[in-house]
Symmetry: C2
Amino acid sequence: MQTREKRRPNERSRATLKEVASKVGVSICTASVVLNNSNSGSRVSDATRTAVIEAARELGYRANQIARSLHAGHTHVIGVVPAATETNILLGPHLQHVLNGIVNETEVHGYDLSIITRCDQSRPSDLLDALLGGRMDGVIVVAPRSNSRLIPLLRDEHLPMVVIDGDPEMCDNIYVIDNDTSVRRAIQHLVDLGHRNIGHIAGPQDLFAARIRKDAFFREMSRLGVPLKLEWLQVGVFNIPSGEDAMNRILRHDELPTAVFCANDEMAFGAIRAILAKGLRVPEDITVVGFDDVPFAAMTTPTLTTIRQPVDEIARAATSALIGYIEEGVPIGSRTFPGSLVERMSSAPPRR
Amino acid sequence: MQTREKRRPNERSRATLKEVASKVGVSICTASVVLNNSNSGSRVSDATRTAVIEAARELGYRANQIARSLHAGHTHVIGVVPAATETNILLGPHLQHVLNGIVNETEVHGYDLSIITRCDQSRPSDLLDALLGGRMDGVIVVAPRSNSRLIPLLRDEHLPMVVIDGDPEMCDNIYVIDNDTSVRRAIQHLVDLGHRNIGHIAGPQDLFAARIRKDAFFREMSRLGVPLKLEWLQVGVFNIPSGEDAMNRILRHDELPTAVFCANDEMAFGAIRAILAKGLRVPEDITVVGFDDVPFAAMTTPTLTTIRQPVDEIARAATSALIGYIEEGVPIGSRTFPGSLVERMSSAPPRR
DNA sequence: CTGAAAGCGCTTACAG
DNA sequence: CTGAAAGCGCTTACAG
């Protein structure tokens, strides 16, 4: 009866604890106690207990999580701040893979995931309100830009945080692949095949992964005594068209590399497309190697030789560590994960 | 000083409204009023106003959104229940595309997105607690299974809801591509090319998109008078390996189709791979047509002829309608979006 | 076995 | 111009 009094059109009204209590004729605290099976409730008479449960069922009672969170001081939701991109923030197979890994882990711990998108530079305070307004117990930042003010800010605010694909010098809680060793594997692979004319398509330099892979490329080339040609060094933005463009810029030169190492798979796909479009072949004319091993790397023609990141493992480990810190205060720390070379059809010895 | 008294290790303590108020020596309601610029606050003296603002800044005050939501009765978060899959729930380029479109739209409206994953059948009540606990203002269900009890349940609970890729007979608020017409375009394309031996790799039949596409395939074939061969009809689960398996089952027969229509792109990729692995060519020996036009459809070899879904538009329209309903009560309704044939390299006339 | 009370942090009429 | 009070819906000691 009185459950109805508040119903306005267009506004759902869930039954409240007060309603079930009054329906049974007990106090709302008693109702709360039996509905939560809390220990204090072990001493509720069976009669009232069943009555309350019955009433709750009839009324379709469901505890308001907001009220509960206000009291408890936590929400069981974890925020994710995706890699900063201008637009279409969620696109890209690697981020998707990371997100999936995160979800895999939050699910087993009973957390929900909130994707924080309002990163719009024009209203940065929106982002902070969302993050710091108590709506999430912790946050996972994926691939922050190196100039991101977010990381130091969140650290100062003591919001539990872990960073995936970030610079270990940026903060303490970084989960990331061992880029140095991985790039070395890639270059070593090319040199082992006999390549001495090697180009590189780098990613956006304000992204840690892009910068460190480029640095590692330089270092490795020089360590192995392979001469560098600056015309064969181009920069893209980690997506397919930019890889295509970058490759086309390389292809404009008279002398061509026999191999190109791309800082991620998508740019490698673009590079392959550019090469094929010029009537050249992969790998016969130019070898292409990527980084990430996204699922489609095994589906392209030719299939892509690349560095596999244990993405699911990295994402789950980071998430699990974050939750461990939230719930039990165990320090998150940083972890580095090994990458591995996956040899497929896009790499082969140079022809001549 | 007293801001410190509550600090326990391992627990972030944001300054509270009470703290800034007491620091200035005003009531918390005055503080609230100036910090919110609410109209009642137009009559606060400039002196107190600046004092409060200053104090808030010094203390790093940030309103607790949970408390605010409890009072306001809304949260500005929208939940997404992704397509039901056994595992790795977020994978798949089409879902990713949908998610991206949703985010594009929530972002402009200042909503955050919560991904509800605890769909685990073993504890269905978790899902409902998450959904109905007042933590989200509305929910977007993507590609529910036809036996899903979720839809009727949410409807009964009056939680604002819109469904993407669902059965229009299932509920009132469905945003979906016009599958019938789209499939007809695909089949017409094959028949126009001269194909009369056409196979179909269908998706999981408890998914609306899969079922209706299969039905449309049958209807269209019979309308055009093209004979059906049951050996050329196989069922997959909308991913690459299952498309590969399905195609392999087709390839086991003596007589082969000259064209195969796949219910989504991923299965089409798998089909192509199976065909190539048998030493046959696409499209020379067998034409393959997909459905969705995921980004990679333009990147495979051969590139994939497929039906383009205006995914971003569908997702954004659904999201926008949901928010319109939440905020202003305008009915969501249902909408159907046209698909279009994208002709690429995987389709050609049959050889003989 | 059960209830009155305080509190989570905020907002909003309503008085002064 | 400013504050006391009630309330959002729930939980949890603490009394009886």
